[in-house]
Structures are given as structure tokens and as C-alpha cells.
């Protein structure tokens, strides 16, 4: 099956960098990676495994495990398969290498993740507000779990 081939190919080339990889659904693979190996695995995915169509990227906040997980959703056009590339960063000082060099669409997604979660992407050309108004006060990240909505 093509899912196992992909997982096998990745674990061979980047054995220790891959934290965990499993097949969620037929044709949907999820791989959790250490932040240092993110860029190299991403370029490997795009060039050799054919994952060329980026769908989106978002972050998930786990205050219990004190980590923020960034998820990249990439679709491969000829394999007809979706991969969820995940990377965890500590919650207090979230830092991740940028993937906008690999898929240029990630530029916008990373800006959104920065303003909503506070993840600082090293090497990102222009980390500015995307969805929030310009005068949004610094340090307040709305999508984090500890940001309670005003009325509730």
C-alpha cells in the first residue's frame, strides 16, 4: 500500500527525527517530526515523494502537555494521498523553522499561526498581522486556550 511505502521511505531517510507516524484513514498519513528535521523532511516530501499541493496549516494548543503542535496538510497530486506533517514546540517559547521556502503558500499560514498562537517562525520574510487589526495589542494570542472570550 502506498501509505506504508511513504512511512517506510521517511523513516529510512530520517529515522531518529520522526517522533511518531501512523495511518489515520485510508490515504491519510500523519507524521510527527522534531522541529530541527522539519525543513529537510518537508523538502524530501516535496521533491522525492511528490507532495506538491499545499492545502493549509494550523496550530493546536495543548496546555495540559505544555506544547503547541503545528500541523501542515499537504496533498500529493500523483499519489492521490494526504499527509499531515506535525511538529511540537514548547508552549512558553514556541519557535519553528519556516516552511515558506518549501511551499510558498505557507507564508500566509505561518503569519496566521504567529498572530493566533505566538509561534515565532525563524527565517520568515514578513511576520506581520494577517487577520487581526493592526492595532491588536502585543502578546495576546486569541486562539490559545488561556485567552477566554469576553462575554463567556
Amino acid at each position: 500500500m502506498s501509505e506504508e511505502e511513504v512511512i517506510k521511505a521517511i523513516s529510512e531517510n530520517f529515522g531518529e527525527l520522526v517522533v511518531e507516524s501512523k495511518v489515520l484513514r485510508p490515504k491519510k498519513v500523519s507524521i510527527t517530526v522534531k522541529p530541527e528535521g522539519l525543513v529537510s523532511i518537508a523538502t524530501f516530501l516535496r521533491d522525492s515523494l511528490g507532495f506538491d499541493h499545499p492545502l493549509g496549516a494550523g496550530a493546536i494548543d495543548y496546555p495540559a502537555e505544555n506544547k503547541i503542535q503545528m500541523v501542515y496538510y499537504i496533498w500529493s497530486m500523483n499519489r492521490r494521498m494526504l499527509i499531515m506533517l506535525r511538529a511540537d514546540t514548547p508552549r512558553d517559547n514556541p519557535r519553528l523553522p519556516t516552511l515558506s521556502s518549501v511551499w510558498d503558500q505557507m507564508n500566509l499560514h505561518e503569519r496566521e499561526a504567529w498572530e493566533m498562537f505566538g509561534i515565532v517562525f525563524e527565517g520568515h520574510p514578513r511576520l506581520e498581522h494577517l487577520l487581526l487589526p493592526e492595532d491588536w495589542e502585543e502578546g495576546v494570542y486569541p486562539l490559545r486556550k488561556d485567552y477566554k472570550l469576553p462575554e463567556r
Binding site: L24, R25, K28, D52, H53, P54, L55, G56, G58, I60, D61, V71, Y73, M77, R80, L82, M84, W103, D104, Q105, L108, H129, L130, L131, L132, P133, P142, L143, Y147, L149, R152
Partner: protein, 368 residues
């Protein structure tokens, strides 16, 4: 303010208050005629829906979620509901799947009519086609109102099935509307898609090659207009699309005309789908009871909305509210492709409305 003295490039704001810009702002860098840069300015309609959903139970969350792309509320609502069902492993009865397919296709035709109408308006104040499509949309709004009780935001899909069964008399009325609509489609094709001035305005304008479309991440008709065959209804085979036979509309040229031809052919396919779904509508229950608290889990749904493929990633933590909902909106990707287009082809100031509306972005969908 002048950006670079050498080429006297000035920066025009295609502001939120502009007949063709809708709720969005593009900053154009142009020297009066050629456009060198289209910079999208997001955030004018950002409501923070992903945050609001974390405070709403599953059934309550459908109402704000459908506001993502109100024109195509059924498909968008379906994405959220399927994500929850995927996360909790809920099976939907056969009849509910057929009813869902019917409403999704009605909403798709609605949305494509809106896109074609506004494109005719963008091409040059061509009011007749814009108002004709508005008139035809009224018919489909009446159909949706008869089925669900609401014209736009249906909130008709709930985890486990559909809120109500098909009222009797709906089938005859739907068939009447569809036969009338097929005649209207021929009228649109003759009077507009083959209109000589429209062809000069859209043929070869905003050309997007297949590799660029894939690399930049275009979605839906914008992708299929460039010759890439990717339709979630065929990939994911969700709801009743597996048993119904229909073709995926694909065009090769990748310019504005091709994108609209894709939408036009998709409308023809949608009418066929509705007819087949109405013909062999299976008996049986239309809803399965679902407990309010769903077990812990992670679900991912991909639905082909009228604007492209919407992916919803839901994470449940055992309570009656979702822990986190991540939406990958098609219009967000289309707007990104628009911002990269001036680097791929030559675009004039007069072309900008036609090019923008050929991608049919829905700005509320992009801003979430």
C-alpha cells in the same frame, strides 16, 4: 504614494468600498495600466469562528460555521458535520446521504450562479446576465426553502443525518425547476459564454498553468480550469456521490474563460446529480440519534464546496464541545494564487475585476 520613481509605479487601493471588491481590499501596484503587484489585505471580515466553535456544542456550532461561505451554506455545513462524524465514527443512514447530496447540489448551483452573475458584472457592467442569474437563483432558493425552511443558512445537516425528511411535492417541483433551468443554461451559453466581447475580455487573461496551479495551491474550479482533475466528490466518494454517475468538468486553457466554463459545466452536472438522487431515493430513517457527548478522537473531512476543497480537522476531547477546529478554506488559497498571478502573466488594471472574479473568492471564507 509612489513606490519606485524609475517606473512611476503608484499604489492604488482597491478598497473595501468598491463595486467589485466586496468585503476585501487589494493593493495594486500599477503604472496606470499594467499591474505589477496585487497585495491582498486580509482580515476585514475575520470573526474568529474557530474560537467561537470551541464555546458551542456540535449542533450549535453549525450556525456560525455555515456563515463561512453563506452562498454555499450546505457544502460548508457538510464539511463540519462530516468532520465530527469522522472523529466520532458515526454512520449516516442511506436516505440521509441522498437528501444531503440533493441540498449540496442545490447550494452549488446557487453559488455558481452568483459567481457567473458577478463575473458578467465585473466584465463590464453587463447587468442583464447578473439579474438573470439572480432571477434563476430565486427558484433554487424556493426549493431550498421548501426542503429546509430557510433561504440561505439552512443548518439542515446535524451529526447523524438530516433534520427533516423531504416534504411530498418536493420532487415534482424540483424536476419542474430543473427542466426550466436547463433551458436557461442554454440561454446563458449563447448570450454570454459565446459573447464576442466577453471572449475578448476573458480569453487568455489571467492564464494559470497546471504546475503553477498545483504548486501555489489553487482550489476547485480554479484548479480544474488549468487542466488538473481533482474533485473531492470523486476522491473522497462521500455521501451519495459514489452511486451517482457524473463527470468532473476540466478545461485545459487555464484562463478566465476556462474557469467559468468549468463552473458552467459543473452546473449541468449538478442538475444531473439532483435528478438521479431524486429518482432512486432510498427509503428508511433519515436521522440516527447521536449522544451529545462524543468520545475522544480526531476527525478530518474534505468536502468539495463550490469554491473548492474545504478541509476541516476536528479534535474532540470527550466533552460536548470540540477541542479545536481547524478549517483550510479554499478561498484563502485562491486569494494567494491571485496575489501571485501578476508574476505569472501580464494583467492590466481593466482586467483585475475579471481575473479576481474568475477565481470567485469568498472573502468571509478566507478570513474565517
Amino acid at each position: 504614494m509612489v513606490v519606485s520613481e524609475a517606473k512611476e509605479i503608484m499604489r492604488i487601493s482597491w478598497g473595501p468600498q468598491h463595486p467589485m471588491s466586496g468585503q476585501f481590499r487589494f493593493i495594486l501596484e500599477t503604472d496606470g495600466e499594467n499591474v505589477y503587484e496585487i497585495i491582498p489585505d486580509f482580515g476585514f471580515t475575520h470573526r474568529g469562528i474557530e474560537k467561537i466553535l470551541e464555546y458551542r456544542t456540535f449542533v450549535q456550532g453549525i450556525v456560525p460555521f455555515e456563515r463561512l461561505a453563506m452562498v454555499d451554506a450546505a457544502n460548508v455545513g457538510l464539511a463540519y458535520v462530516r468532520a465530527i462524524e469522522d472523529a466520532a465514527g458515526i454512520e449516516v443512514p442511506k436516505r440521509a446521504q441522498y437528501i444531503r447530496t440533493i441540498l449540496c447540489e442545490i447550494s452549488r448551483i446557487n453559488s455558481h450562479l452568483y459567481a457567473i452573475g458577478l463575473a458578467a458584472e465585473a466584465a463590464g457592467g453587463y447587468p442583464a446576465i447578473f439579474l438573470w442569474t439572480t432571477a434563476d437563483r430565486e427558484l433554487f432558493l424556493d426549493l431550498a426553502e421548501m426542503l429546509t425552511g430557510a433561504r440561505w443558512s439552512y443548518a439542515f445537516f446535524i451529526p447523524g443525518g438530516v433534520r427533516a425528511d423531504i416534504p411530498e411535492g418536493f420532487k415534482e417541483r424540483a424536476l419542474k425547476v430543473l427542466s426550466y433551468f436547463e433551458k436557461r443554461l442554454i440561454a446563458y451559453r449563447d448570450s454570454w459564454l459565446e459573447n464576442e466581447i466577453w471572449l475578448t475580455r476573458s480569453r487568455g487573461v489571467g492564464r494559470l498553468s497546471a504546475e503553477d496551479a498545483i504548486k501555489l495551491g489553487a482550489a476547485g474550479p480554479s484548479l480544474r480550469g488549468s487542466g488538473v482533475e481533482l474533485d473531492m466528490r470523486k476522491e473522497e466518494k462521500y455521501e451519495a456521490y459514489e452511486e451517482l454517475n457524473f463527470k468532473v468538468a476540466v478545461q485545459k486553457e487555464g484562463d478566465c474563460q476556462a474557469r467559468f466554463m468549468v463552473r458552467f459545466l459543473e452546473m449541468i452536472e449538478s442538475t444531473k446529480i439532483i435528478r438521479q438522487a431524486l429518482e432512486n431515493l432510498p427509503p428508511g430513517p433519515f436521522k440516527k440519534p447521536v449522544p451529545p457527548k462524543l468520545p475522544k478522537g480526531e476527525g478530518f473531512a474534505r468536502v468539495e464546496t463550490a469554491r473548492g476543497e474545504m478541509d476541516v480537522h476536528v479534535i474532540l476531547d470527550g466533552s460536548d464541545k470540540p477541542y479545536r477546529v481547524k478549517v483550510c478554506a479554499p478561498s484563502f488559497r485562491n486569494l494567494y494564487v491571485i496575489s501571485k498571478l501578476p508574476k505569472l502573466t501580464k494583467i492590466l488594471v481593466a482586467d483585475v475585476p475579471v481575473v479576481i472574479w474568475s477565481f470567485d473568492p469568498w472573502y468571509l471564507d478566507a478570513d474565517r
